[in-house]
Symmetry: C3
C-alpha cells in the first residue's frame, strides 16, 4: 500500500479531477454564407422532418411492440336439405362440418360423392382409363398400382377390362362430380367467430365481441364490410364473394379461404379503439388471375363411417368437396416506452450526421469560395516525418495567415 507514493497519489487525483472538471466540445466554423446556409438548413430541416415525421409519427418509434397470442372458437349454423333420387335427407352442423370441435381450421361440406355399404371383398377396378388390363399377366397378384385402390388378385375382369382387386368394394366412382353441388344452400349458412387475444407484455386481453357487440346485436346482425364491420357473424356466401371467388363454382369442386383477423392497437389511446378488422382471401391460388398453369384446383378429402351389419364390418365412404376455412389472427399492440424513445432519438442523431456530411460536400466543393472555407475548416500539420513537401508547408503558412489575419 505504501508503494504508491504520495506523488503517485497526487498524480492520480489530478488526473481524476482533470477528467471531471474538463469537458471537450468540437470547435466549429460558423459559415456566414446565404446560399450555403439556406441549402444546409433546408437539408437539416428535411432530415429533422423525416426523423420526426417518419420515425416518430408514422412508425411510432417511441413505442414498444407486442404480438398477440390469439385463440379462435367458431360455430356454424344452418340446415341443408337434399333429395337424391327420391331419398330426402337433412344435413345439420354435425353432418357437414369437419372436424366438430369449432377450431380455427375446418371444412364445410358443399358437395359429395357417397359410396354406401362398402365391405372388404373382391371387385374389379374402376374403368377410368388408368387401370386397364388385357390379360391376367397385367395384374400381378399381391401387388398394387400407384393409381389403384387395392391389392390385385391376379385376375383381369373381362367386362370392365380392369384388374380384380381386394379392397373396400364396390369401388368409389368419382368420375362425375354432382352439378349443381348438392349442398349449394350452404351459401346461406352462417359462421360465428369468437376471437380472443392476449398481449402478454402489456397484460391486455381483448375479445372481438367489443363494446356495442352484445347478445342483442349478435342475434340479428350479419357481417357487412361497409355497415357491420364488427359483427362476428358471417354468411358463407359473403365470405366466398369477398375473397373474390364464385360461390357455385367453389361449392362444386371445393376450395380454401383464409379469414385474417387483424388487430392493430395503440394502447396509448383508449382500449375501446382496439378493434378487429376482418379480411378474406383465397388460399390456393388467386381467383382473380386466370392461372392456367395451376396443377391442382379444388379441395376434397375422403372420410368413412364404419358400422357392423349382420356381423360384417361395412363402411360408408364419402368423398367430400368443401370450403376449407383457415382463420389467422394477427395482433400487434404498441405502447409508449422510454427505451425505444431513447433509441429512436439516438439513431435520429446518427442520421442527422448525414446532413452535415452532405452540407460539407456542398460547401467544400461546389461553392465559389470553397478554398476560403477549406482554410477555415481545416488546419494542416506539416508532414514532418518522412517526406517534407515544401509546397505544403507554404500553404500551411498561408492558411495560418488567413486564420490569424493580424
Amino acid at each position: 500500500m505504501c508503494i504508491i507514493s504520495s506523488k503517485m497519489k497526487s498524480y492520480i487525483t489530478e488526473a481524476l479531477s482533470n477528467f471531471f472538471f474538463e469537458y471537450e466540445t468540437p470547435r466549429q466554423v460558423l459559415v456566414r454564407n446565404r446560399r450555403v446556409g439556406v441549402v444546409c438548413r433546408l437539408i437539416q430541416l428535411g432530415v429533422l422532418a423525416y426523423i420526426i415525421g417518419w420515425v416518430f409519427i408514422y412508425e411510432k418509434g417511441y413505442q414498444t411492440v407486442d404480438i398477440a397470442i390469439g385463440s379462435v372458437f367458431t360455430k356454424m349454423k344452418g340446415v341443408a336439405y337434399t333429395d337424391i333420387s327420391g331419398e330426402e335427407r337433412v344435413w345439420d352442423v354435425s353432418d357437414y362440418v369437419y372436424p366438430d370441435q369449432g377450431g380455427e381450421s375446418f371444412v364445410i361440406m358443399t358437395n359429395f360423392i357417397i359410396t354406401d355399404g362398402q365391405t372388404q371383398s373382391m371387385c374389379p377396378e374402376l374403368p377410368d382409363g388408368k387401370n386397364t388390363c388385357n390379360s391376367d399377366a397385367d395384374c400381378t397378384k399381391g401387388q398394387f398400382k400407384r393409381t389403384g385402390n387395392g391389392h390385385m388378385t391376379g385376375k383381369c375382369v373381362n367386362t370392365t377390362n380392369t384388374c380384380e382387386i381386394m379392397s373396400w368394394c364396390p369401388i368409389e366412382d368419382d368420375r362425375t362430380i354432382p352439378n349443381p353441388p348438392l349442398l349449394s344452400v350452404a351459401e346461406n349458412f352462417t359462421l360465428f367467430i369468437k376471437n380472443s387475444i392476449t398481449f402478454p407484455a402489456f397484460g391486455v386481453v381483448r375479445s372481438n365481441l367489443v363494446e356495442g357487440v352484445d347478445q342483442r346485436y349478435i342475434k340479428k346482425c350479419l357481417y357487412d364490410p361497409d355497415e357491420h364491420q364488427l359483427c362476428p357473424i358471417f354468411r358463407l356466401g359473403d365470405i366466398v364473394r369477398l375473397s373474390g371467388f364464385n360461390f357455385s363454382q367453389m361449392a362444386g369442386v371445393g376450395g380454401a379461404i383464409g379469414i385474417l383477423i387483424e388487430w392493430e392497437c395503440n394502447l396509448d389511446l383508449s382500449l375501446q379503439r382496439c378493434i378487429p378488422k376482418y379480411g378474406f382471401h383465397g388460399l390456393y391460388g388467386n381467383a382473380k388471375e386466370g392461372e392456367s398453369s395451376q396443377a391442382s384446383v379444388g379441395y376434397n378429402f375422403r372420410t368413412a363411417k364404419y358400422y357392423m351389419e349382420d356381423k360384417v364390418e361395412k363402411r360408408t365412404l364419402m368423398k367430400i368437396f368443401g370450403i376449407r376455412i383457415d382463420i389467422v389472427v394477427h395482433g400487434l399492440a404498441r405502447k409508449f416506452d422510454i427505451i425505444p424513445t431513447l433509441t429512436a432519438i439516438g439513431s435520429g442523431v446518427g442520421i442527422f450526421g448525414v446532413a452535415t456530411v452532405v452540407c460539407d460536400l456542398v460547401l467544400l466543393n461546389l461553392v465559389p469560395k470553397k478554398d476560403f472555407y477549406k482554410n477555415m475548416k481545416f488546419k494542416y500539420t506539416a508532414v514532418q516525418d518522412e517526406v517534407p513537401v515544401i509546397q505544403l508547408d507554404k500553404e500551411d503558412q498561408e492558411k495560418s495567415q488567413t486564420e490569424n489575419p493580424k
Copy 2:
C-alpha cells in the same frame, strides 16, 4: 492509354497518397470549468451506464436471437363413471377427448347432453320460445328458420305450438344443462405434455423432459408451480385453478384455457439451464374481471356417432361441454455473435452524441461566461457575398481578437 499524360499520372498518384497519408480529426475545445465539466461528465457517464447496462447487460445486445419451432404431443389419463337414471357407464380417454391424436389443441368433455337414436324423419320443433307458430301459415313449406333445426313441412303442431320439421328426430333438448356436471371427476384427470423445440439457427434441440425428469420421476410426479415446476404431468383441476377459474363452474358450461410453454435460453451458458416455464390463462375473457358485457360464455360443440339399426341410419347426437386446451410454445434462444455486438456499439456511439448536444446546450446557454465559450467554440466567417452587415463584421473582429489575444 498514352492519352493520360505523365502529368495526369503524377496528379492522381499525389491525390491518392494525399488521401492515404492524411487524416482528419475534429478540433476540440477543452473547457476547464468545474461546474460544466462535472455536469457533462455525469451526463456522459449516465449515457454510458445506460448503453452498457441496458443495451448490453439487460437486452443482451451482443447476442443474436432465434425463435423456436416447437412440437407438442399430449396424452390424457383418467377414467370417469356416470350413473344417469340407473344406467351405469364408464368413460375413458377415447370417449372424452376430442380429437384423439394427442395434438396441441383438444377438448376434454366435462358435461354433455345426449340424444339417442335420432333418425331422418319428421317431428315438431323444440318449444323453446324461438320457434312458436299459431297456424300452418307460420311454417312455410321447404324453408328453414335461422333458429330452427330442419326443413319445415308446412304444418303447425298443436301440442307444442311449433312447426313440424324434417330433421334428425327427436330434436335435441338442450334447455337445461346437467348440474352438477356429469363428468365432474375430470378434475382428477391428468395431462402429460411432451414438448420438443428446435432452434434451427443454432442447431439445438431440446425437450421438456430435461435432465432430472426421467421415467422414474414422471411416474409419480405432479406439476406444482412451487415444488415441481418441471414435472410434465398436470392435474386438470390444477390447470383450471391456476388460470383463475372455478373448476365446477367451468366444467358445467365449458371453457377454454391456454397453456403457455415458455423457453428463454441463453446458449452462452450451459444447455442444462435452458428449461421450460409453464403458464396458464383463460382464453375467452378474463375470469378475474366481472365482464358483464360478455356476449357468449362457455365452450360447447356437437358431435354425432352414426350407426345402422334395422337397415335404418341412426345417430347419437352429443352436445359436449368441455375444457378446451390450447398449448402454445414460445421459445427464444440467444447466443453471442460479432455482428449484433458491432451494431450495438455503433448505435451506442450514436446515442453518446446526444450527451454532447445536451452539454453544449448547457455550456452555451446556461453558464454565466457563455459568450466566452461561444468564442472559443465558434469561428465566424464574415458575410462577404451579398449583404455586408457592418455590425456583424465588427463582432467578428472582436471575436478574432478574443481568440488571438496577443
Copy 3:
C-alpha cells in the same frame, strides 16, 4: 398585437435570418503523418467495407422484410394389406390417416393393437404387474387407480390376481407390440403437399407448384433431394430416412417428423426464383444421438369406433402407432424500400464514428509526437472560476503560441 414593438420584430427577423443564413461545420485538423494516415484510412476502409459488405450486400439492409402467411393441403396415396391370423384386410387412406381433412398435421398409422367388441361391463384388470391385488381389500369399491382402466367393483379376481373393474371389456392388452409392424408397406405410401403462401405487405401469392411443376410432371415425379427438389410428392420411406430415422423401427413404435417448407424470396429479382426448399427433421428428440435419458419414445394414441350390435353399444378400440407429420411453413420475402435504406445509411454513419474514435486514440496516445497533435486538436480554456492553476495557464499559453506561431 401592437405590444410587439418594431424593435422586437426586427430582433426576431434578425435571429431567423441568422439561423437561415448561417451554417456550422466542425473545424478539423488535417494530420499529415504517413503512419497515422495509413492506419486510419485502413480502419475507415474496413468499417466502410463492413457496412457495405455486411449491412447492404449480405443482410440486404436496403430491403423491407415480410413474413408469409402459409396454407397447407395434403393428400396421402397408397393401399396396405394385412393378414392377421388368416383374416385378410385392405387399408386405404380413409382407414390409416388421422384426421381425414388433409391439414398440416396428421398421423399415418403404421402399426396397431386392435381390441374388438368392447362393451360396458365387468372384467378383471390386465395382469401387467401394475394392478396386482391379494384380497378384496386392495380393490376399494367405486375408486379407480391412476394406472387402472376403470372403476373397481371391490372384488379381487383369483385367476389374474387383479381387481375386477367396470369398464369397456375386454381390457386392451398392449403388452406386446406387433413386430414387424403390421403396415410396414407404408414405406411406399406417397404424400402430396400443396402449399400456398401470401406476403400481405407485397401482395404476392405463390404456390409450391411453381413453373415447370405441372400436371404432367406431378403424375410421374417423386421428391429427391438431389434431382427432384421441387416435386411435391414424397415417399414416406424417404421422409423418414431424410430425417435421420430408421423406417422399420419408427413404424413399429411410432414417431413424429417435421417437414419444414422454407421460402426465401428476393422480390427485387424475378418471381420465378422464389421457390420452396423442403427440410425434414425428427420432432421428439434427435435420432442421431443416443439419448438414453429420454423418458418417452414413440408416438401412439387410442381411437374407438362405436357401433350397435343386438341393441348393445359396442366399440372397436385401436391403439395406433404411427408417424405423425407436422408441416411447418416458413416464408420470408425482401424487397427494396427507401426507409430501411436510409436507416441503414444512418446507422452506418454512426458506426463510422467508431473509426474516428479509434484513430484518435492511436493519434493521441501511441504516436511519438502525440503532444504536438494534442496541441493541434485541442484548445484549452483557462480554469478561471474556482482554482486558478498556474501551471495549466502556462501550458495554455504555450499552446496558444504553438497555435499561432508568429
